[in-house]
Symmetry: C2
Subunit: 497 residues, 2 copies
């Protein structure tokens, strides 16, 4: 017998199934109390007839209500709203909660506690300009699609089971071995595969180190280059560390400024300083290592884009000079293959491996197996070195096109960091407007030129010699013709304005 | 003219190239001071003759030394060790550092500051027993290999460029939309795609939440079920939070024990409590939601394995009952497809999305694109639901085989959590030895039976009713025949012992 309070409607045009609609409507009535504890529900036959829906649909909705403890079926007596439901206050509060001004009641003042900023390497509004000099973007056509397709197909065929199991949180052994061999060959470091930790790019490696060194420390501080990569500065800051900015000049970080610094962690980009593109001089490398040795400190060497060295032989990494286990080397495949892989690595002194493994396990339980397996193949079979040679040639052409276009249209400025990597820093000549204004003007003609903040660069303190007059030119995502066209357009706009 | 101090040898059997050997030998001599600043190096011709190697090899080694500032070539005068090198103290310290007892000098007492533990879902010594009841392992044969191969090939062919670019740290929009639709269909939650954050499995989601709620809080505390999943307990503890264990019985977490708890974050597994397998009763669900509402607290609902419900209709998630944005729902593809993917997700109240995006960007900059793209397809095309139906049937058979084998060989105990998921908790009958002893005996006949600690379960305080007498039986990695064979072997061993 249908209760007076029980108004149930179902709608065939609703995107929910009839069963779900009936289940939800009855649940709502029970929670609101209009179907109180002990009340008998209509039989499945009666409900089915009244609503004009299949009896089986009603039965399934009832079964779900019973499984979730809302109703009980008593043999021969019928189906009843459960007596064990909580008291009416609870039911009403939950039933009507949405209508209350609840945000006030959420004591958000005391939680969550996180505050911080992050760099924007990705933008929701993907209105990238036609000619985009955003930093660190490999050329899409350079991705080794055919190799990837074959390797994935092969791995999925023969290595069934590895996708379903948990893997080593430190990373696939085959990949760590391949990276160790690659570093010995190209960067003058000879780590054991057991010293390598696979991470989610450089950012994942930085987060791992921040958790090991900074989380839990009551008064941590980190020295960073000034200017430096936003993702590092913001990360260290988000763990509550105080940041000690150390200035950078044409020889890289000014090591003598570390005197008096009270922390014992310094973050540097020795091969190709971000954003200036300078290389840390040998003199300063040795002094930096000595400082670390004397003070018991650690150096984080972010070697994000040294895969591409255009003029002269490759430089040994800072970690290759380190005799005392004071350097933590970070590398990534984001620049050499693609950031969409989210695979990088850290080379750690052996006594840091245990804490690193624990942090990594707690943080994300390791990297996806398939990415790791394919990259391992790519390295082992020599395909990676061939790939690097191929794109190095293409990037060198782009680099030359930028240098020529800047010289042709805008003489008198300065281009730093041409020797390697994927970007240069362009300090504008006096006759051009400020970096921000250049950004705005270029954007109007479809060209993306980025001042520091827009290029994921953070600078501390008063604007120095760099910020207001410098642009960071990431050129590897563009072809030579595009580069010429882009600078031509900007020159035209400036001539008109 | 060769200096007396300069003893250089190269070895064709060395795995380093001749050029690298020469470069490193000269660098070593310079750093040790046996080739002091200002010293002239032999000409490339003389060096090549003396060592019996190609002149070009010598030239390349010299070029690299010059590029790294060790030597300078002065026109017509020759090649000299650089005068700009740091003083001898620095050189010597770095040159001979490796021989000193350095670990003492590293002031590791003050850094790194991290201490903690992690669960072991992976073991380096992969001597898994023949019949392994380790928890949460999908059957390897269930992996949709063919679908994956086709989808990867298609994505790599048509979506070139997405691998080379940074993606949205929150996750691929297509995947978030597919998950939102899936949750509405199967779990009674209707989130917007903007509320979903793609994570590295449940562990990645827990770490994200821990950073938002716990890092930076001076006195954070979290309530957890007792017993509970190690990966959650250890993680919260690693952020310095105090843990408030709340007991579990056959109806799940005993909500009344939350009275007096001073924190405002509780971690629960309502669908299939880990490890007991119990389902949180409706009464307690409503009380838990009411507690969260009254105290302005958040509930983390870990719905790790509810994709497999064998008896009766699927249960609505706790988040499906929440009207007030107090529940954060966590799901994963680790159990339903494979842990090797490292893809899970969190459904967040909208006011938590901004901090979550920042933390995610700083932590790892998002998940790999290819995994996300393929899983999105798998969900969208209905293949995931077909996959779930298929493996649910197979897992149900395995579940039945366990229930039957236990009843046949070891009557008198208790099997909890049969209704859904991928494991049961077996409380041993009085005539069997302790859980640890059962583990040891079973291992001797090739069967992996896991007591709490071995099954990634953490229990607080004094051993309760569960720990010493309970095993966690993960059965989904085994076939029915294997299960029968395994229990038969254990029965035989116990009969003999």
């Amino acid at each position: 017998m249908m209760s007076m309070n029980l108004i149930i409607t179902v709608d065939r045009n609703d995107e929910r199934s009839l069963q779900t609609q009936l289940y939800e409507a009855l649940r709502e009535q029970i929670l609101k109390g209009s179907l109180p504890a002990g009340k008998r529900l209509p039989s499945t036959r009666s409900m089915s007839e009244q609503l004009g829906i299949a009896r089986n649909t009603v039965m399934l909705a009832y079964e779900r209500l019973a499984a979730e403890d809302y109703i009980t079926s008593r043999a021969k007596a019928g189906i009843f709203v459960n007596h064990k439901l909580p008291d009416a206050t609870v039911l009403l509060r939950n039933g009507h909660g949405a209508a209350q001004p609840l945000r006030k009641r959420l004591r958000l003042g005391k939680n969550p506690t996180f505050t911080g900023r992050s760099p924007q390497l990705w933008h929701e509004k993907r209105t990238r300009p036609q000619f985009d000099f955003f930093v660190g973007r490999p050329h899409p056509a350079g991705f080794p699609t055919t190799f990837w397709q074959r390797a994935v197909t092969r791995h999925l065929t023969y290595a069934r089971g590895t996708q379903t199991e948990y893997g080593d949180p430190q990373g696939l052994a085959a990949l760590r071995e391949a990276i160790a061999a690659h570093l010995a060959e190209t960067r003058g470091i000879s780590p054991g595969a057991d010293q390598i930790m696979i991470t989610s790019g450089i950012q994942g490696a930085l987060n791992l180190l921040a958790r090991i060194f900074l989380a839990g420390a009551s008064k941590a501080s980190v020295a960073v280059e000034n200017p430096c990569y936003q993702g590092a500065a913001y990360l260290f800051g988000s763990y509550g560390a105080s940041i000690c900015p150390i200035d950078v000049d044409e020889q890289g970080i000014i090591v003598s400024q570390l005197e008096g610094f009270m922390g014992n962690l310094v973050y540097v980009t020795p091969s190709h300083q971000f954003p200036t593109g300078c290389t840390l001089s040998l003199d300063r490398r040795l002094h930096l290592l000595d400082w670390a040795y004397q003070t018991g400190s650690y150096i984080i060497e972010d070697d994000y884009d040294s895969d591409f060295r255009y003029d002269g032989p490759p430089l040994t990494a800072l970690a290759g000079l380190d005799r005392n286990g004071h350097v933590i080397y970070l590398g990534t495949f984001s620049k050499s293959i693609g950031a969409g892989l989210r695979i990088g690595y850290a080379v750690l002194p052996r006594h840091l491996i245990d804490p690193a493994r624990i942090v990594k396990t707690l943080t994300d339980n390791g990297a996806p197996w398939l990415e790791q397996a394919v990259i391992a193949d790519f390295l082992k079979e020599g395909a990676f070195l061939r790939h690097l040679r191929r794109i190095r040639r293409s990037y060198m052409g782009a680099r030359d096109a930028v240098v020529e276009a800047v010289a042709k249209h805008f003489p008198g400025g300065e281009l730093l960091g041409q020797e390697c990597g994927m970007h240069m820093m362009w300090t504008l000549p006096p006759n051009l407007p400020s970096a921000n204004e250049m950004h705005r003007l270029a954007r109007n003609c479809g060209v993306g030129l980025y001042p520091f903040a827009g290029a994921a660069v953070h600078e501390y303190g008063t604007p120095g010699r760099f910020r207001e007059r410098s642009l960071v030119l990431g050129y590897t995502g563009l072809g030579q013709e595009d580069i010429r066209e882009a600078f031509g357009r900007v020159a035209d706009i400036l001539a008109l304005s």
